[in-house]
């Protein structure tokens, strides 16, 4: 994107391309750029740099930077959900590590009783973070693991309980029902409040909006985590999701190690989107 002085047609087209290329979505991009051209004219923005600054500011404002950190509101039980492969288990491990380092007590629930070696994978993260994990054998009812985890949390009262769940497509009615049952059991049995966190992959395109809508309709989500922002994808789909559902982005994932979890900073995120 040329940052030179001219706000000519080529500049506006290039800007549309940049935003579409960031997965913000063609229709949203047209609205955003139309409004921006209008602002640029009315405010007599002098050059491309000024326009991009203004845009980054507008985009950053879509995100609520004053949202309380739901991971720090302890004691709290957090269900970690999302479609297959987005980084849920890894994110649970990272959050557990962050909380443990901050001196908070953590309990993990190995709620993915379906996928091969899912329990083993979370075991390794639990060990790395130095936190206990509740589990059952592969094939057990995830509601049973949830029940066990919440029972233990009620007894030991950790600041943060994280329940990992199996990846599932939002289009599978059975699997979404299973997740609702997990949430229902957790809320029924838990003394601490139960929150739901959707983990989304930053490389996801427009289907991410459909995912977020369905998970939100099923569970009434409390927050999002956007992973794999260490790649080249900008995660613009989060703009569409937050515009529509108004959820806070609680953390971002920027790598595969325990330390690769960062707070979500709207200004930084918006800057990266406008390139």
């Amino acid at each position: 994107l040329r940052k030179g002085p001219d706000l000519d047609d080529e500049f506006w087209e290039d800007l549309e391309d940049t935003l579409v290329g960031a997965d913000i979505g063609a229709t949203a991009v047209t609205e955003i750029v139309d409004r921006l051209r209008d602002s640029a004219a009315r405010q007599a923005l002098p050059d491309a740099a000024a326009v991009l600054d203004h845009l980054a500011g507008e985009l950053a404002r879509e995100f609520d930077s004053d949202a309380a950190d739901l991971l720090a509101e302890g004691p709290v039980v957090v269900l970690v959900v999302g479609v297959n492969g987005t980084g849920k288990t890894t994110t649970v491990g990272k959050i557990a590590t962050e909380a443990a380092r901050a001196g908070r007590s953590v309990l993990l629930g190995s709620g993915d009783t379906y996928r091969a070696a899912a329990v083993e994978q979370l075991d390794i993260w639990a060990e790395r973070a130095g936190v206990p994990v509740v589990r059952r054998e592969r094939g057990a009812d995830p509601a049973a693991v949830t029940f066990d985890t919440v029972k233990q949390a009620n007894e030991t009262r950790p600041d943060l309980t994280l329940i990992d769940t199996a990846g599932r497509l939002h289009t599978s009615a059975d699997l979404m029902r299973e997740l609702q049952k997990v949430q229902r059991i957790a809320k029924r049995e838990s003394d601490a409040p139960v929150r739901s966190l959707l983990v989304m992959d930053a490389t996801t395109g427009q289907n991410g909006l459909s995912q977020a809508r369905e998970f939100h309709a099923a569970l009434d989500l409390d927050g999002l985590v956007l992973t794999k922002l260490d790649g080249t994808a900008k995660g613009g789909i989060a703009v569409a999701v937050v515009r529509e559902l108004g959820l806070p982005i609680v953390r971002i994932g920027v790598g595969e190690s325990a330390d690769d979890l960062k707070p979500f900073v709207p200004d930084e995120f918006a800057r990266a989107l406008v390139g």
């Binding site: 479609v83 980084g87 992959d201 794999k228 790649g231």
Partner: protein, 291 residues
């Protein structure tokens, strides 16, 4: 959907004669939007729409079709052609064992696809050996071993912590166990991770696979092109497996990857079970992309 939108665009036409530039402009806008909504890369969309425009302007509106139907047919034909022929198959040189290597971004479905391929090959009369080349992800090797046990297909895990060495040893093991095809699962990696891309190239050089398959998640957005181009340059994969097509992602990434790298799409992953692998059908994918 696109058909309905095009009907609206052409509502004023009398349905005979040729399509004018103005008629086509409005139609091209709708097609562009539909493809972007389906996650086709914006550069690929520009080229594609230019191609469709050429065919649409002056297109004879056939007596039996409405103008909207004429344009849709052009779009479907062009999409199907771009998505490639239906004959993309695994090709082995005849060297024993044959070697297949899977690569791709994190979480795309490689380990699952490795097992699915092994399952398919055994049904085709081969004796596959799975090789656990991911030494990084916690319990990745356990995952592949569990899948192997489920299928009753052997999995080689090696003693080394170097995936290049594991791949080499895996091929030797296949010879020793008289397995005739080796399927190497590798770790998910970012195309911008220099070290990991070099590792992938080194695994390739060490075992000279007959086929390298890039595994791409159907819900990937605009970034699919950047990643695929980089993998094509560094690893020169032969074909693509698109996964998670059992969901409702339109899958435009498939078109982008095919168009930009020229590599055929060989298989479609359509579920988590180990028999959920299908031959890729370009005509079905074209309809899906158009919504």
């Amino acid at each position: 959907n696109l058909s309905q939108r095009l009907q609206t665009v052409f509502a004023g036409l009398t349905g005979k004669g040729r399509l004018s530039d103005a008629d086509v402009d409005a139609a091209m806008r709708e097609i562009r939007l539909a493809l972007l909504e389906a996650d086709v890369n914006f550069r690929v969309v520009k080229e594609f729409v230019a191609r469709v425009r050429e065919r649409a302007v002056g297109a004879d509106v056939a007596k039996s079709l409405t103008p909207g139907q004429t344009v849709i047919r052009i779009v479907l034909e062009e999409l199907t052609e771009l998505l490639g022929g239906t004959d993309a198959r695994l090709v082995f040189t005849g060297r024993i064992p044959g070697v297949v290597m899977l690569v791709g971004l994190q979480g795309s479905g490689k380990t699952t696809a490795s097992a699915k391929l092994a399952n398919l090959m055994r049904k085709q009369g081969k004796r596959p050996l799975l090789v656990a080349g991911d030494v990084y992800r916690p319990a990745a090797i356990d995952q592949l071993e569990a899948l192997g046990r489920e299928l009753d297909i052997p999995v080689y895990r090696g003693e080394s912590s170097d995936p290049v060495e594991i791949a080499r040893a895996g091929v030797k093991e296949a010879v020793a166990q008289m397995r005739d095809v080796v399927i190497i699962d590798t770790a998910g990696r970012l195309h911008v991770d220099e070290e990991m891309m070099t590792e992938a190239a080194r695994i390739k050089d060490a075992v000279r696979p007959d086929q390298i398959l890039m595994v791409v998640d159907a819900m990937t957005g605009q970034d699919a092109v950047t990643a695929a181009q980089a993998f094509s340059e560094r690893v020169d994969f032969d074909a693509v497996i698109v996964t998670k097509l059992d969901g409702d992602a339109r899958g435009g990434a498939a078109l982008s990857v095919k168009h930009v790298t020229g590599k055929p799409i060989m298989f479609a992953g359509v579920g988590e079970k180990l028999d959920a692998l299908e031959q890729f059908h370009p005509d079905r994918m074209a309809k899906r992309i158009l919504g």
